[in-house]
Symmetry: C2
Subunit: 146 residues, 2 copies
Amino acid sequence: MKITYKGDYALKTILDLARHYGNSPVTIHDLAKRADIPIKFLEQILLDLKRGGFVESRRGKVGGYLLAKEPSGIKLGEVIRFIEGPIEPIACVSKNYQGCNSIYNCVLREVWQWVNKATCGIIDNITFEDLLKKIEDSDCTISYQI
Amino acid sequence: MKITYKGDYALKTILDLARHYGNSPVTIHDLAKRADIPIKFLEQILLDLKRGGFVESRRGKVGGYLLAKEPSGIKLGEVIRFIEGPIEPIACVSKNYQGCNSIYNCVLREVWQWVNKATCGIIDNITFEDLLKKIEDSDCTISYQI
DNA sequence: ATAATCCCTATTGTATTAGTAGAGTATACC
DNA sequence: GGTATACTCTACTAATACAATAGGGATTAT
Ligand code: FES
Ligand code: FES
């Protein structure tokens, strides 16, 4: 798996929205500023995230973005897969792959399947609520500021 | 981590050479044919692998390529890192990274560090001898052919 | 000599990535 | 109703990486 800027930005944005879950909408301006994301790039990302059902938006004055579900209902893996596509290290890992030309090389495939499984085991078992909890528990809480 | 064609080809080629370890050199023609790799692309890859100290070559007639070390002395991770560069999913995972602008986002960094650790735990603990053993043990041995 | 082999650099076509640009639409508030 | 403040959408672009391809050159067994 490789995380692109777009994916990184998407996760940071959702995390920010998770921190403000239950409150009034957050403007793209604030989101962009806090995570240091080019605003026009973030625009596209938020559009994507909306289509993916991760965020909602309110237009007009006092508008902004909101998380569409509870932080506990969004797993890291979902967002990553939606934004980045398949996460496996190489295409032949997927179930319905035809197999390579030589059975001797397929031992490599098995290795990639392990790697894939290990990765999924992590990102599919972490929700944004878990991340929020981690932030709270950390000793960084002192420098908290919106 | 994402495996490119180049990396995939490199691993398959070293595995092939591992299977012929201790015998006479294997020609690029045979390597390319068995793994279905464009021969001119493989040329470059073998040049790289030579510079990396993974393979040796004999020029002229009856020349070819040989593994430079025992299969048990080459880990998957070494080859991957040499061919593909850093394997971490995102740059900020590396030790001496400055840290992002917001401590709230750094919980993500920790996730990537887990993913990275899990991946390294796999690829840095598998040698090409392990792969050879895996091939022997598998029931595919029947259709063995050089 | 010659055929088979490896050695090396340069170039190319395509796709992906990380933005930028610029127009449009909705809403709160006076 | 006008206007400022927000979100919406499509198109474009510069830079880079990827996956080869091309074309010569050097070495060695026979
Ligand atoms: S199927 Fe990918 S290496 Fe055999
Ligand atoms: S350092 Fe990468 S997310 Fe904070």
